[in-house]
């Protein structure tokens, strides 16, 4: 499978806890994971995301997106490119703080707002759709020792499929794994992955990521989306 990763990787990510958690960046951790599972990977960060081309995405099965403080930095033309590719069949995985990433918001049509608290509390992620492809190989829950709390109400459209619900020690719950169809493409939002903890190095989280790209890969890609005029009826009337 061909995967394109975008990781914002802003200046805060090359120091402190994020550097400790992800010495090669979040993209580095994701790239390593996908390559180890025989996927081809192309990586973008905030430095070159605005150079992303239609060719990059035509050749891509699934795009994985992690952004946070620089959502504004991604140009609208790039957002349109990504969303058009999704509608034509490309899978799209939005991670953690990408709930506010421009392409995710555009695909959802809602504000995608939520509550948050950053005290590194424990999260327990429960599987509520155990037959789902994205839950394959998981136990009934997995724990994240230290995670940023994301809480309801999460302003998203009703998920086509809800796979995970997160329990937070501080008292909140969250719809942590949400599946959508948009055009010919599939979209998965996955809440875990605050940058200051090495969440994407956890085995069970990696299982989710591998399952998710597999689930999101296109069954079919569509060349263009338009409104054809069918001048002749199919039946005599």
């Amino acid at each position: 499978m061909k995967i394109v990763i975008y990781n914002e990787h802003n200046e805060h990510h090359t120091q402190g806890d994020t550097l400790k958690s992800y010495p090669n960046g979040i993209h580095g951790a994701l790239e390593e994971l996908f390559k180890a599972n025989n996927h081809e990977v192309k990586v973008f960060t905030h430095k070159n995301i605005n150079n992303l081309t239609k060719e990059d995405l035509d050749d891509c099965d699934v795009m994985v997106w992690w952004g946070h403080m620089m959502h504004w930095h991604v140009e609208d033309s790039i957002v349109d490119l990504v969303c058009d590719s999704v509608l034509k069949g490309m899978g799209f995985i939005a991670l953690h703080s990408s709930h506010l990433a421009k392409p995710f918001k555009k695909l959802m049509g809602t504000s995608c707002t939520l509550k948050w608290r950053e005290i590194g509390e424990k999260e327990r992620v429960w599987v509520v759709d155990p037959q789902h492809e994205i839950a394959k190989g998981l136990n009934e829950y997995f724990e994240i020792p230290h995670e940023e709390m994301y809480g309801e109400h999460f302003d998203i459209p009703t998920p086509d499929e809800l796979v995970f619900i997160g329990w937070f020690a501080g008292g909140e719950v969250f719809r942590s794994g949400c599946c959508y169809k948009r055009g010919y493409g599939k979209v998965f939002y996955f809440q875990p992955g605050h940058e200051t903890n090495p969440v994407y190095y956890q085995k069970d989280v990696q299982q989710v990521l591998l399952n998710a790209v597999n689930w999101a890969k296109p069954n079919v890609k569509k060349e263009k989306l338009d409104c054809p005029n069918i001048t002749k009826p199919l039946e005599n009337i």
Copy 2:
């Protein structure tokens, strides 16, 4: 209930078959219907839609939208205003060719493309969710003697509720009545209503429109949508 109607009412609508079908414009027909049912109505056309204000919508329960060839004319700031109001609770009814209206597309996140054919064929609209509030008082189907064909594939997100499926004499089907939740607001897409036939004067279609605004009126309105930082956990941890 307070209803705001937008009808594009472009220059083609003041002549020929459209004038014959709607001597007072489509907005005139809708206004008359809603007023006769004790709703307050405010009307906009392409001439003043770009003067629409936040106050107009704060005071509005449901907006009803009919647009066609001048979707481009509605400024993006107005589109944002409408969509924000929906997310905060205002109902939104998109009629017929408004499948490509900017606010509807923005709320859906898809291309909203479809097939079409304009030969005035018969449509039979079937109720597939007879317990739905929007189907109240209807028989199992109603007929539209002459309608523009809209056919699948209709590129929309899976409806939260599918109320109607259209059968067209020429051989196509269409998901003709689709319900969505977006934020605190409800959205209903209703396919019938090509401008050259007086569809909105049909009794059963009027029943649908009255049911739809009733269904779409807000249970609650939200002041603002943001991402609050909940610094203190609800539980001792």
Copy 3:
């Protein structure tokens, strides 16, 4: 509105903590609530549930069901009667341990199994669909000081609408408010309400119950459900 309540009210309910929590039985608390809101109420317990008649239900808008250890006691003919009435339009509210009540299981088609723990821990019930009629008037969550834990995986069909998610102090989550359409009827499962605590006397829980019966009341009732042979086509073919 006309409401029929079934409360199992077995011998354990007339002593100890249940008696203390509900001096007049759970049915007494529910009856009082609904009557205070101008609904007509008829009550059944395990002593006379098998005398329930078609007439009782033809005349009923919404049935509210609380059962636990005597699900087996309800005769299959009564279960069929209840389920048929739901399919013909009657609303059905299944409370707490009624997840295993025969009519609820029959309407769901799944095992409706779940996890449980009875240590009287705290539950916080989060609203995840704040625009829903059943969430009207509620804050973003309400707390139940002492509740039996019900945990995922809850083996139910994907809810048509998910209104509440429960957070439990002991570490679990639960889909605590689930809406379904079955035939012409609406079904709501609501998890809170263990018999040893006076949960149904809480103001916010009472709000949910009142909202729920209001939501579940029929828009239309159907006389019979059959497979008519339409010998003549609607169109000339």
Copy 4:
């Protein structure tokens, strides 16, 4: 994959148009198709369906069911066996008149009633979810030259995914391809396949059947479904 086929194959099926359409029975046509695609197949008819064992189904990935006039003949214990197997992970494909088959009705919880007309009219089956695995390789529609009409209202729970909508020459529409999750298993209802026409020999219909069993095969199988008592909380409280 291991597939178990049930075809009622009553006495009417061994003569007249059914014999002409299916010289080896509907099960013969299905068996041939699945075997040609390297699946293992076991066949049951009304003569031995009541001998079906737990072992037969434990060893089965997907069961394909075609029944019509002898639904009553299948014993309730067999129905329970089939439904339990679905809840534990086995896929289940209900074909055509199996909308009233006992296992399908039990899994749905509704009456599954519909309209019908048997004049051999044309059906055109439209794909409304073109990204779905069951629509893989299909054009935007396929035609069935002569089919029994099945019309709305079809009394089923809202499908988790709606893949096909049928257009009938006589004027009706039908939700002809409906996906459900039930427990760990997947259920697909497919409307085409009246016995007097060789529908299951059509290439596009065969494509649907092959896609459907592939979609319905279990990701995981569960040993038992029960309500475990989790005596110890996961967290200190």
